[in-house]
Symmetry: C3
Subunit: 659 residues, 3 copies
């Protein structure tokens, strides 16, 4: 059931601001006031605190030490800062772990992952659920009506470090319960999972095991259900916190800081309980962890790829139903990627403005000051370690603050003309059954996004099933399971709609779609996929016709009653169109993708501009922003003078025009 | 002790037929009759059923549901199909796993690998042995004399998913018992294993541990014994099933479906209890999983390498003492390799005919219809998922059926002139002690086979110790342990015999051969190996003389009283010959191997023809088959017109001549 | 606290000798006498025995079988050999493991690593401590005053196979005890570890867990402490053995055989209890296991890289306070590297003389005879397996013995003019927090060493804190933690001192140095590191000025009041100098490193000679040795005739001059 409301542009949020993450518990109390004053001087409005401090305010069960936190809150408030308070559930203290050893998650190999870092809990622990409710209740009661308290962050980066799914006895118990609720009988479970296949039948829900440590791959339908179950546990855990906070802290908003390219739970669903979305933007870290090519990693190592942050701004604006923050903004080199270069000069400033261009309400840097100890001591802050002195990134934040001041209030973000349908289950289905080792959903979506943005367009992300009336071009790069809502939304769309490979290929129970793929989408494009090939790296199949380029990674063999508008080298259909719908029966390589997007935009009547690889445009209301991620200057093809910056935009800089 | 009988050509099997694997339990009962009729129409004779159906006919202990299976059998039989019934022991049901948790295997890391996929049992479980005997007895009693029942398949793909060896308490107990039987006393065990080396002595068999989870590598002699023990457990488990079936199902044959390049148990030994061998032929899957070069994988990704299937046809014809089936034939893309392309048009047909050319009695496609659910839903069948409609591979199977009909009964397969000695212990010894990271026995044998086949010759595989009278050229690419029987067979051979590197290097107890390698083979070629070098990739040593090329991967330093017929760049002997025997003191690269085989064939007086890389010949009685795996046409150098196909064989096609 | 005495040249050890490792328990007793006689004939003086024989002289608790060992000792002694006796603690017998299962180590994944190979004990087992004391006591009592007994080797290769750290309950107990001793209170522990960071506080030492199996990375300060604790356990275990031996075996020396590039425990500290150091030299094995480039591995595969053995000779001469042995010298191909070629002809001889050139007192080959059984049967010995017959390496050892006889007594080794500060904690800190995936301390030090040696210079290794008066150039390639002693030694040095990247960056508690890196070193070079970048492979930043080349892997952003003597491409300081001190703010690539070393040598007034990549020089007293690792001859630029060898040194050979 879809819980997502239409994008809420009505609120017309225009004030754009900066913030910072701060840990008073790390610093001498007599530094706090100076820190707060310097935050304000830098142009910061918000300060996030408290999300890892549980053991510092409850060092033993029931032995609360609020004094220091009270004073910290008052000191920050006294300087005029607005406070974002984090619930502390990402780091349960040692005494609690000892009291309830079952809180610890069990990994897929059966190993207990214990205390000593963070996120050492399973969402299925009943004890942890209770204890989390207790501490959130107490915290919200104490600070929920503080006048400086702007809002809440629940927990911290749900799922980070592979913690959405846990494989222990508590998880098994909860999963069996979930199955019991979702299937009427073991017979229906057997039927839904295709248990007949390898004698996998159960006679009772209590016979179901977790789908790990099987001899070979576990049943994909069982895995999908376990992933769904786990995703729902996260959302329910978050909802529990939200309900407590709303009761105890009226009038304050609630958000959560999501991560980049993290798909282990359904962000659309969880976000329904939040007031808006937030995400943690580490553009350089993503260069090393997202599967770019090595050549791209070399090229973008100090700037990031120009779509990596933007992709997430647009995604989380969607997840937040039009509203989002950057809760943690990379201010310098980080500590967690295989390699961690310092950002090129200008980039911290550029990223900050770019986030606002994409509609972010607040950009909050992580962290005020580099911590000299523990796990992240090589992670930069706005200030040097142990010092009251701006880091290189801190100086850029100051510049960004001045930029924003010069721009004044920003107009509201209008809906884009292009929408991409982003689906967490699509990731799960293709991760559980890649069929080709490099069929990676996030990469496919990213490349489609990049190709559209290279044409100068803005993009919205939408969940499957959201009404699509606002759009002129809708892209579903891969949507294996098409729900009834999604089908209805496609049917009602007036846009050109393109479906990518594997779309419509599965039922909701992870079986092959009825009547063969693309299942319900046959209503829009008359074809059947009768065979699929995954293609090893280097294997390419030429595509000619309305689009020229190659298929790589994936190619489908399609029967269609329509005349294909592009064909593979062997004459088989590659692109099939009917009315405003197009089915893409392959993974397009770079050339094919550029041609495809150009063709679709033309079909949709969209005006495009072919941007160089290092430049991107973005509109916010009547403003147009241009960002140059390259070394060399780029002359913008706009006749009037920019509001900010120069028409000849230097490398690693930006400019803003009023249109 | 050798249990292999000489190749049985006397039976003169000539009828060649097609079959299919079918799962009535996957489909509505009212589809069965139509399926059966369409199988017959397609030209199929055999249908394999039942091997994964345990939980469907015994959903709870003793609660048997034979009705559906009775009806399925009768329906298939009624359409004129002959039935191959699989024993269901590859997939014990959940209730049985719960009753006896010890059935589950323990992997080398100590983790229990439980229910949820298949092969979740250890061959050492006494409970599973008992339960398997029980169900096979009941099954054989019920269907063993059904008039449509042609024969049996025991279990399914023994050892698949790394399940030959298990590392739990039951395994340890059985291993200790095995040692007790094989060694008279702990003292003799200590002596045999060289326990003095690192204080590894035991004072009782009950002190022996399994050779896993040691701090560094375990004793290689202990590992070899554990591998032998495990291999024998598989054979004994199979024998137990065979004995029950023979008692309850008189006059029916028994086979088992082996796999490609799978060496974890001794197939010669297990096969002694079968009537013939069968194997599961997935030519494209092997392209990705066998260590071909990346260039080869690119070249052969849609056709397979022209020796991959042929190698196994010849191997399993040997394992089956002249008789074999292809029990599962790839009919389209599969689901389990890293990449899974669809076969190029023509290949399913070509593979089918090729199997028959190599002597296969039946080629049985896997599976009748693509399953829409569970683990293999992206594995093609002869029919589209959920449909009564042939897939691309199904259409090719129909063509193959017509080809076979045109050819009529095929002549019996005559012994080849070239034999390759294939030894499972050779694989174990070199896997346990590779000495160079890329010393891979299967690859070595495959390359020697390929080089002979490139000369247009047919090849038989023989176990060490089989009389070699029939052959003119015998190749032992690597035979570390030379048994007395093997030595006698070599001594009695009239053939040219070539021994590859490491042959004769070990005693049966995994020690260095007495008097240095090649141990007992010094009787045939007068030399001693005094030093070995494994060579990192790229390191090559030139070889000149009777053979020109390079050594790679492995090079031995040899002392010999004979004049070497080829030498390394440093003047040391590389090839040593006496009378009809040649010792190859290195791993030959492609050039050296081609030259070596040409030289050996000449010495053996064999007529050869230098084939292009994409073409292979194969004789069956008076018929000669030519297979063209390439894109371009190949004109066969035969003067008369082909019986089937054209003299200018198109790419991905074949032709047949009567000689 | 520094326990290292200044290099002891006063003893003036000059006698250079050869030895061998021998296992009488592997061979028939009637071979011993012949073996001993042939050892003497070969020119060997020392024979090491006994280190793996525990189960052979105590097959059951208290059931001692000394007869065979008595006879073996007497036979060897009777032939005039001096005996080195190993304590047997590297291989506890099975009965002992069964008696105390807790002896077995637990690996980082929580798996018990049991009996069946070697080193199957944790240093934290109290039972094993007791049992080791018992057996060493008994052994020392029995043989400690034997007239042929020259000295002792404790255990064998401490830490081999990743056994310094164990992760079981005994280890946890001992670690908590260690923490209790090192921190006054849980509060101080929390403070030192920065527990505030992620609510990692403990309220009692009994709440501390081992830093493994955490959800994400464990606290680096906790890890460093656990690594220190583990290192100290090894030293204490060794000390326990030494104290017993000194009591029971007066007048005999004690050593231990260390390994190449092994840094898991502090060798400086452990060595304080030894009379001298020994190491096991396997130059070819290191080619495959040390991170050389693939091109280097290809080039040096049969000779080893010319600095790999030399590096360790110099290191262990330092560790041994001027005295060291090669306890195990590779005599031919080994068995444990991914590829194991035979050494090129001449190399075993060359390596032997090279060890003596670097000051080794004895070079002892491993092993007398290739063992035909167990784990190392493909490891060459001086004799062929099972034979009384020299192997190729055995013949070279005979030549080396003749070389040494020709050279006569060798002069004492004088201190070098260049010292490299080698610090085990530097390895730990950078391994725990690499920040860039290829920031590898051993590689950094090796490359600096290589660059100095390419200039024809000799090198000493010194621990941080050793007085540096003797040196004209001191290199600290990376010294994150600078102790007070180290700081004082640098301050007192008259040498040119160069500090590499990350030096001075950490406190002893693994926090960022006070006042920013380089912390206490700011006293010598006025700078602050305000940001660091790790650079992915291929990323290079040009450096110009006093040194030309590139930064790779690591680059710091530095603020300095001094004028930099070299700058990065962006103008930021790359090399900062004041007086005799230079700070290197990057990882120099090959060119930059050569230029840097040339510049430093010039500054230090050292005469250099630019050697080709394959040649190295080494002085011992008034002798100069030259070693040619290449294929082609090299003409030495010395006017007089060599004492040994030729002035035009053939490939893979050497020459010696009196200067």
């Amino acid at each position: 059931m879809l819980r997502i409301a239409p994008q809420d542009e009505a609120r017309g949020i225009k004030k754009t601001m900066l913030g910072v993450c701060y840990y008073p518990e790390h610093w001498p109390e007599d530094w706090w006031e100076k820190d707060a004053r310097r935050m304000r001087e830098l142009g910061l409005t918000y300060v996030r605190i408290g999300e890892f401090a549980w053991a510092r305010y409850e060092p033993r069960r029931g032995d609360f030490r609020w004094d220091w936190l009270d004073r910290a809150v008052d000191t920050l408030a006294g300087a005029g800062l607005k406070i974002v308070l984090g619930t502390p559930t990402a780091t349960p203290p040692k005494w609690l772990m000892d009291e309830y050893p079952d809180i610890a998650p069990i990994d897929e190999h059966g190993r207990r992952r214990g205390f000593g870092s963070r996120r050492h809990y399973t969402f299925s622990s009943q004890a942890y659920w209770r204890e989390s409710a207790r501490i959130v209740e107490i915290l919200a009661e104490r600070y929920g009506r503080h006048e400086a308290l702007a809002g809440w962050q629940t927990d911290n980066e749900y799922g980070c470090h592979n913690t959405v799914r846990s494989w222990g006895p508590e998880d098994l118990k909860a999963f069996r319960e979930w199955l019991r609720r979702n299937y009427q009988s073991p017979e229906q479970l057997n039927e839904a999972w295709g248990a007949a296949f390898w004698s996998m039948d159960v006679q009772s829900f209590d016979e179901v095991e977790l789908p790990n440590l099987t001899v070979t791959e576990a049943n994909p339908a069982a895995r999908l259900d376990f992933w769904r179950f786990s995703s729902q546990r996260v959302a329910a855990f978050n909802r529990m916190q939200c309900e407590i906070i709303r009761r105890r802290s009226p009038g304050r908003w609630i958000t959560h800081n999501f991560m980049g390219f993290f798909n282990d739970f359904d962000h659309w669903a969880l976000s329904a309980d939040l007031d808006f979305a937030a995400w943690d933007s580490y553009p350089l870290g993503l260069v090393e962890t997202f599967p770019l090519t090595e050549a791209e990693r070399d090229r973008w190592r100090e700037t990031s790829h120009p779509d990596l942050a933007a992709f997430h701004h647009d995604l989380y604006r969607g997840v937040g139903r039009g509203r989002f923050w950057v809760m943690e903004q990379q201010p310098g080199p980080v500590n967690w990627a295989p390699w961690n270069p310092a950002p090129a000069p200008g980039m911290v400033r550029l990223w900050t403005i770019e986030a606002h261009a994409h509609g972010s309400e607040v950009v909050s840097y992580f962290r005020w000051r580099q911590a000299p100890f523990a796990q992240e001591q090589t992670h930069a802050g706005l200030n040097l370690a142990n010092a009251h002195e701006l880091s290189p990134g801190g100086h850029e934040a100051a510049e960004a603050a001045r930029d924003l001041a010069r721009l004044g209030d920003l107009p509201a973000t209008a809906p884009a003309e292009v929408a991409i349908v982003y689906d967490y289950e699509a990731h799960w289905v293709t991760a559980i059954e890649p069929q080709g080792a490099d069929f990676r959903y996030p990469e496919l979506v990213f490349r489609w996004y990049e190709a559209v943005r290279r044409l100068g367009l803005d993009v919205d992300f939408v969940p499957p099933g959201l009404p699509l009336d606002a759009y002129r071009l809708v892209l579903a790069p891969c949507l294996p399971i098409v729900s009834d809502e999604a089908e209805r939304a496609f049917a009602a769309a007036k846009a050109v709609v393109a479906f990518g490979p594997r779309s419509g290929s599965k039922t909701s129970r992870f079986s092959i779609a009825e009547g063969l793929p693309p299942g319900p989408l046959r209503r829009f494009v008359p074809l059947r996929v009768i065979e699929v090939s995954s293609l090893r790296p280097g294997a390419k199949i030429e595509v000619t016709g309305a689009v020229a380029g190659c298929a790589e990674r994936w190619r489908e063999r399609v029967e269609t009653s329509a005349a294909p508008i592009a064909v593979f080298a062997d004459g088989q259909p590659a692109l099939i169109a009917r009315d405003n719908c197009v089915y893409v029966a392959f993974w397009p390589d770079e050339n094919a993708l550029a041609a495809l997007m150009a063709m679709l935009c033309k079909k949709a009547g969209l005006a495009t501009i072919k941007l160089p690889p290092e430049v991107r445009l973005r509109r916010r209301g009547e403003l147009t922003f241009a960002f140059n991620y390259g070394d060399a200057a780029w002359r913008a093809p706009f006749s009037r003078e920019p509001l900010l910056g120069e028409a000849e935009i230097p490398g690693r800089s930006f400019a803003v025009w009023r249109s």
